[in-house]
Symmetry: C2
Subunit: 480 residues, 2 copies
């Protein structure tokens, strides 16, 4: 047999676990962002693959030499870029179990537990988030783990296309489909529209509410009505709860009230922010979602669970299989034909699937719902504290209202024309320190520093340190 025998695996597995423990332990001493030029990693590695085994020593040697120095450390306590990508060690325990089982969950029959644990988990998470019971299997809907919110949005769009035109599976799209977003909607919606063959012309960018970045329901109503008058079909609208740029929140309820009478699918993208609904005081993030057709939030951003684990719920348990199912002979089986089981391959684009539920299940056993709430609450509180410091500091301004654990700020030089350069210089100075990593966006066309709080290891001291670095950088930038 080509594989390790179990005793060898015990020994090498322990060594790899120890490597991971040491890596996490040493993170605070590493710069968050590597200092390598394109091609550096390739230059460290031989061109030809190993003809003979070198064993774990060779593997770890390569990792220590070529990988770690060229890694952006997303699990570093000073990582505040993009959104967090929580990969807790609890989650890793679950993922090791999943890898050990090594099953394919494409059909119920190809591994009943992989399917049913996911169903139990998604039903349980719906309840824990306060989602409408209509999103559970018991309530006629159901949840599924997708690899990403991008894929979740794509399959929601496909289900919407099918619902809008029963001939879609046979004749495809016809050019009359329209999809409604805002300028702040995640780019994955534009990608889904492209992938689904609609072309960018199908994307309607709805105006925001005055003085806001959130979708205007009246502008949406006007756009839908104009499109219908023009013979077009309003297929899907995507309100976002917590945009990537600034954490803005579209008025989901009002958007849904506009869309539903036209049969327009309402897909709520709460990829980052949705998990906050675990905390009763933050449950407003799912307000109005009971009127939606689908809702997605990522366990792999802020919920301690490693990528890939996007939680997608749909209100109609038949919607995704109706759009996506194709059954060749070699996948036919008694259980599927009984109609008593869920075959998750029909809820996604790929056929194969890992047992991803175990990652989140391990997190739940590891910290409980109470621990998840504490994790989210702690970061929201830190963000509020940081936002307060920004407000009180003459050289800085908030670039957008703080949202949950995201703070958007910019340098305030007194001369709007100079703010962009100063903000960029501050960001670059902080990033060059290696102690923190920040990324940027544009708000109303102005350069904006995003501070996303939420890495697994981030505690108050790290945010205090970041603030001191921001202030220090600002002071340097102030002088010519």
């Amino acid at each position: 047999m080509a594989d390790l025998d179990p005793d060898e695996f015990r020994k090498l597995g322990h060594a790899v676990v120890d490597w991971v423990a040491a890596y996490r332990e040493g993170l605070p001493e590493r710069p968050v962002r590597p200092d390598v030029a394109p091609g550096w990693v390739r230059a460290q590695l031989p061109t030809a693959l190993p003809e003979e085994p070198g064993g774990l020593a060779a593997l770890l040697g390569d990792v220590d030499r070529a990988v770690v120095p060229a890694t952006t450390h997303w699990q570093h306590p000073g990582f505040h870029g993009f959104f967090p990508a929580n990969a807790s060690l609890h989650s890793l325990l679950g993922d090791i179990l999943s890898g050990g089982l090594g099953v394919q969950g494409m059909l119920w029959s190809t591994s009943p537990a992989a399917t049913e644990v996911e169903q139990v988990l998604l039903d349980g998470m719906a309840a824990a988030l306060g989602l409408d019971p209509g999103f559970t299997f018991a309530g006629g809907g159901g949840g599924v783990i997708q690899d990403s919110a991008s894929s979740a949005s794509l399959v929601a769009l496909l289900a919407a296309l099918h619902r809008s035109s029963p001939g879609w599976r046979e004749t495809g799209v016809d050019g009359t489909e329209r999809v409604y977003v805002t300028a702040e909607t995640h780019s994955s919606l534009a990608k889904a529209v492209r992938v689904a063959g609609l072309g960018a012309r199908a994307l309607r960018v709805v105006d925001p509410l005055p003085g806001s970045l959130a979708m205007s329901p009246s502008a949406l109503a006007a756009a839908i009505e104009a499109d219908i008058t023009a013979g077009l079909r309003p297929v899907l609208v995507c309100p976002t709860v917590g945009t990537t740029g600034t954490g803005a929140v579209d008025p989901v309820r009002e958007v849904a009230e506009v869309a539903r009478p036209h049969g327009t699918w309402v897909h709520v993208d709460a990829a980052w922010a949705g998990v906050a609904a675990l905390c009763p005081e933050l449950r407003w993030v799912v307000d109005g979602a009971e009127l939606a057709d689908s809702f997605v939030t990522d366990a792999h951003k802020w919920l301690l669970t490693a990528f890939d684990a996007s939680l997608l719920w749909v209100r109609d348990v038949r919607a995704l299989p109706a759009a996506l199912s194709i059954t060749p002979e070699y996948l036919r089986n008694t259980a599927s034909e009984s109609g008593e089981v869920v075959d998750y391959r029909d809820w996604q684009v790929p056929l194969g699937r890992r047992f991803r539920a175990l990652k989140l299940w391990a997190v739940l056993h590891g910290v409980g719902l109470s621990g998840l709430r504490e994790h989210v609450r702690g970061h929201v509180a830190l963000a509020a504290e940081l936002a307060g410091w920004v407000r009180a500091e003459p050289g800085f301004a908030l670039a957008a209202p703080p949202s949950l654990a995201l703070v958007c700020l910019r340098a305030d030089t007194g001369d709007p024309a100079a703010d962009d350069a100063a903000s960029r210089a501050v960001l670059e100075h902080v990033n060059a320190s290696g102690a923190a990593l920040l990324t940027h966006t544009l708000v109303d066309g102005r350069y904006t520093i995003r501070v996303a709080i939420g890495s697994v290891a981030t505690e108050r001291a790290h945010v205090v340190d970041l603030w001191e670095r921001l202030r220090g950088a600002r002071a340097l930038v102030r002088q010519p």
Copy 2:
């Protein structure tokens, strides 16, 4: 911090590694297929998620009680269903490292090593498989790890749509696109056609060569010419090397020679069989691929590497980004704008991505290319042996020519009308034993037992045992 501290993780991580070792060790004693009814797993688990942590004991308790007894054991030595889903323990070591690093490889800058190791690996694998150097980054093409061959086929189709019509990104598909397959092509092509908005009408099922299941190049030529005459656009043809049903091989070279003059994208689906090209004597599986635009083979079927790891190469390094790239402000960065790096997010549908290369890299360090060749060769030899036994046995017949490590057989009762029922009864009898798992297909409309050899733990003794069980079942079926 909500996470385990490193010392706790060392302890719990070792325990989980030990659990996996014991699970793998005990596999031969378990029935391959669980005996559970729909709903059994759900009934074992509480409806509400844990409010407080129960720790690893609670997690493993659930896994032992509710998961393992309801698992189809894909890593069992008697697993011969579908195609194998190799998840070697070597691969798991790499995946634990990937989980430990916990990085997002969406852009080069979000983790340079995750991108460049994947580039080195895919270039090296192209060389090891004997693929044309035009598929490497050095040769103007490049490789990428997709989650599945389904996703690989989808992105190949999207690139083909873009190449066929530069306006596709703006105006979408127009209903004139046509995609060429055979009746044996994997259902993921039909799914990709649906997802991409073409509808089933775009799918042309090309006739096979006489007396064969392989695509007829002259039938393809006739179909393409008829479509062009009708004002349609031949966008993509998918020759398969090793179909899922029977392992049939389309004549890639002749198919490509027909397709290329029309600008039709040639996507070679060698999901299962392609990895055999590591062995010089089996390199015929990539014959003609040098004329293709893209080529996919799965490391996660037969190459010891756990799902998800489909290896996709394209001849034009710009093809996938041209079709898939969309860049919002928050993803802009200096490295991407320099044009010196690969941003793999533009090579796939999802934005996020794990460091999947480490799994295959760990396998290569663990067994070397020499070990991979031995793994493949061993299974091919076992299949040849089994096929010989089938040929020599009066009560059985080969249902299709054996292909690499796949043997398709049926009961031969002397009465063709009785063969299907007998074959089905034999399969069900073997599966009920728990010692092996077989799945079926139809060949020329006749019920056919598939024996896919290739699980990580499968050795000669398991195939001998399977053959005895097949013969025993056949003997039982013979009698009324």
